[in-house]
């Protein structure tokens, strides 16, 4: 009889309780509501999607339309003609090619990439070490230091442009890519520290302690838990790239000609003689496309990365 009691204890222990997430997801998918509310919601979403995508659609089509055809407006009341003009045209790549052959856009594209990626990598690397120190460290004034770091993001970027310009001028950093990288790091680094600290907080400290007791040094223990934070690192890296890529103010004020980035170059296409819509729209497409691609590629990890830090174990 005693042996059966023992085996009973064994099996009770084996059961792994299923997580609640599965049940909750089922509930959401099934949903409950009348058909009308379903139709209304779908209708609203459809309108919103169209509203969001129309600017991109127009930008892309205008970039592909031959010169002059973009502003070829249909007669008033001619709805059929309007629709036709929206969708029917002979696409041409002349605007895109002119950007790169005549307007030096390959250089501007490279500048954007270097400045955005450079500052993001620096921000993430140093942001990781700083966030780790703030998350784990125990020292006087830590709370104040952390608040000061993230408070630098509270000030509008415009407010620091003039002083930053003066400093860069004295240091000879104007019109240089390194200068631009530094400028972007100014606002990317506090952001990275802020977000990454949350991710480190979500990793229990006794994991590193277990590594240290097992035989690793403190640095090795930190490296061991970095894989747990990698989704957060990736998300922050992408966000930093996005912020730096889309920046106009710093690039315009401090980039000059040698370090001109895509947003500034696009604006520069507006010449005194007139606006070449085809070319400008092509420039806009070139500016937007890399970020869109990036977003699509890491979409899955972005959500995971951004929400991971929110749930405390």
């Amino acid at each position: 009889m005693s042996s059966t009691v023992l085996t009973q204890v064994q099996t009770d222990e084996d059961e792994v309780t299923p997580g609640p997430a599965i049940d909750m997801r089922d509930q959401v998918v099934k949903g409950q509501g009348s058909r009308w509310s379903g139709i209304a919601i779908s209708g609203f979403i459809a309108i919103y999607v169209i509203f969001t995508l129309i600017p991109f659609f127009i930008m892309l089509t205008t970039a592909l339309k031959p010169a002059g055809e973009a502003l070829n407006l249909p007669a008033t009341g001619d709805w059929g003609g309007a629709l036709k003009k929206l969708f029917v045209f002979t696409p041409t790549f002349e605007h895109f090619s002119s950007l790169f052959t005549q307007n030096n856009f390959s250089k501007y594209l490279l500048n954007s990439v270097l400045a955005a990626v450079g500052s993001s990598v620096i921000s993430v690397v140093f942001g990781t070490t700083a966030a780790y120190a703030i998350s784990r460290g125990r020292f006087r004034g830590k709370g104040d230091l952390y608040f000061w770091i993230i408070s630098t993001r509270m000030a509008p970027v415009v407010a620091v442009t003039v002083p930053l310009y003066a400093i860069f001028k004295n240091l000879g950093l104007l019109n240089t890519i390194p200068g631009l990288v530094l400028a972007y790091t100014v606002f990317n680094l506090p952001f990275a520290i802020w977000i990454l600290k949350g991710f480190f907080d979500a990793v229990p400290y006794d994991l590193e302690e277990a590594y240290m007791v097992d035989g690793h040094s403190r640095w090795q223990a930190l490296l061991k838990i970095v894989p747990l934070v990698v989704p957060g690192l990736a998300a922050v890296l992408v966000l930093c790239i996005l912020l730096a890529w889309n920046d106009y103010i710093f690039a315009a004020v401090m980039g000059g000609e040698s370090a001109k980035t895509l947003p500034v170059a696009t604006q520069g296409l507006k010449s005194a003689s007139g606006i070449d819509w085809g070319q400008i729209m092509a420039a806009g497409t070139v500016t937007v496309a890399p970020m869109l691609l990036l977003g699509i590629v890491i979409r899955k990890y972005m959500v995971q990365g951004l929400t991971m830090g929110a749930v405390k174990q």
């Binding site: 309780t17 229990p204 277990a210 007791v213 097992d214 690793h216 040094s217 061991k224 894989p227 747990l228």
Partner: protein, 381 residues
């Protein structure tokens, strides 16, 4: 395997003194329990041994050597954490093999040790699983397995079974004790559960608010508590403490209170009369097991009280009796008092040889020379 010594160790967190002047000797191979409520400094003391906390003052010696300045990995200790701290990306096998891989052991040796430890803990079938696929009890065994594969100078346990259900805890108490006896490794075990300390340890070191209260075998701590706080902390249900005034009567001493009178046994009368008591006030302690209850008043049951509640516990029952304003718990055979007897008048008797006396101002126990125990006993193996 080695001895462990605390020499006047202090731990301060800014202004807070978590551990105050701790002096403790742990013998080679001994199972010592650090017992106390939350915030008493037991975890801080354990983590100072591991090297996870700086030592504010004093020295800790492991195997006779001062380890204050050594990093955790160089101290040759293994630790089981309260939250298990298993490596989430590794399999159970890799979790247990990790400390051995760091020490550049041969693959065969690692495999042998991991499987041996897994066998001891009955987790062989789990070796390929990830921690997220394990139940709480299984995770805890893996955490213990990670510690068993090594042969360190000391095992450190930080409330390892706190988060398991009662039945599993009872089983693990036996298993941990068996493993420790079999391996003979010096073990320091931190817990707030006095039952774990009493059932598993060779000696218990009880701490309160950073100060060591008493060190002794479970027997010593239970039967000869050094102060009133230890007396009520160890033992379940806790010891009853009654207040009274010491008076001389018929050539002997009696503790007198409005509701009762307790005669002081002659053996202890001498030390009581010598001790300086403010206003001759005194505390009398008597464990629920040392009390008896009866419905009739007689010489053996002189104390009057009223039944407040009855808690049947299967084979015994604990009766909550109101004596004046005091609450007295009595342990008796099942069926002595029925649930309906609330407010019934009952009479209590006490075992004269099992009385404890405490100084109300200091809380320190007053003992006769014969039963007096020094506050810190010598280590036994």
């Amino acid at each position: 395997m080695a001895s462990l010594t605390f020499n006047s160790v202090w731990k301060r967190y800014d202004q807070v003194e978590a551990v105050k002047d701790l002096n403790l000797d742990i013998a080679d191979g001994e199972f010592l329990c650090l017992l106390g409520p939350s915030g008493c400094g037991k975890s801080s003391s354990l983590r100072m041994i591991a090297g996870l906390e700086f030592i504010s003052a004093g020295d800790i010696l492991l195997g006779g050597e001062r380890i204050n300045d050594l990093e955790p990995r160089n101290r040759d200790i293994a630790m089981v954490f309260e939250s298990y701290a298993l490596y989430p990306q590794k399999s159970v096998y890799e979790n247990m093999a990790n400390p051995l891989r760091l020490r550049k052991m041969s693959k065969d040796e690692i495999d042998r040790r991991v499987r041996e430890a897994a066998g001891m803990l009955e987790i062989e079938r789990l070796l390929d699983r990830r921690p997220s696929q394990l139940s709480g009890g299984q995770k805890q065994r893996v955490a213990i397995g990670r510690v068993l594969v090594r042969e360190p100078k000391a095992f450190l346990f930080d409330e390892p079974i706190a988060h398991l259900d009662a039945k599993l805890r009872a089983r693990m108490r036996g298993e941990l004790k068996h493993i420790q006896k079999r391996l003979g490794t010096t073990t320091v075990y931190v817990t707030h559960d006095q039952l774990e300390g009493m059932s598993m340890a060779d000696r218990i070191a009880i701490m309160r608010e950073g100060v060591l209260q008493q060190v002794g075998t479970p027997q010593e701590v239970f039967n000869q508590p050094s102060n009133v706080w230890v007396a009520t902390f160890v033992g379940d249900p806790p010891m009853n403490i009654l207040q009274g005034e010491l008076q001389g009567r018929d050539g002997g001493l009696t503790v007198v209170a409005p509701e009762f009178r307790i005669d002081v046994p002659t053996a202890q009368a001498g030390s009581l009369s010598e001790s300086k008591l403010a206003d001759r006030k005194i505390l009398v302690g008597v464990r629920p097991e040392a009390l008896s209850i009866s419905s009739a008043r007689d010489a053996a049951h002189p104390i009057t009280g009223r039944v407040y509640a009855v808690q049947p516990l299967g084979d015994v029952e604990v009766i909550d009796v109101r004596v004046g304003n005091d609450r007295v718990l009595v342990r008796a055979e099942l069926g002595t008092v029925a649930n309906e007897d609330v407010d019934a008048t009952v009479y209590l008797g006490y075992h004269a040889q099992k009385l404890h006396f405490f100084n109300p101002t200091t809380g320190v126990a007053i003992r006769s020379a014969a039963t007096r125990q020094t506050a810190v006993s010598q280590p036994t193996t």
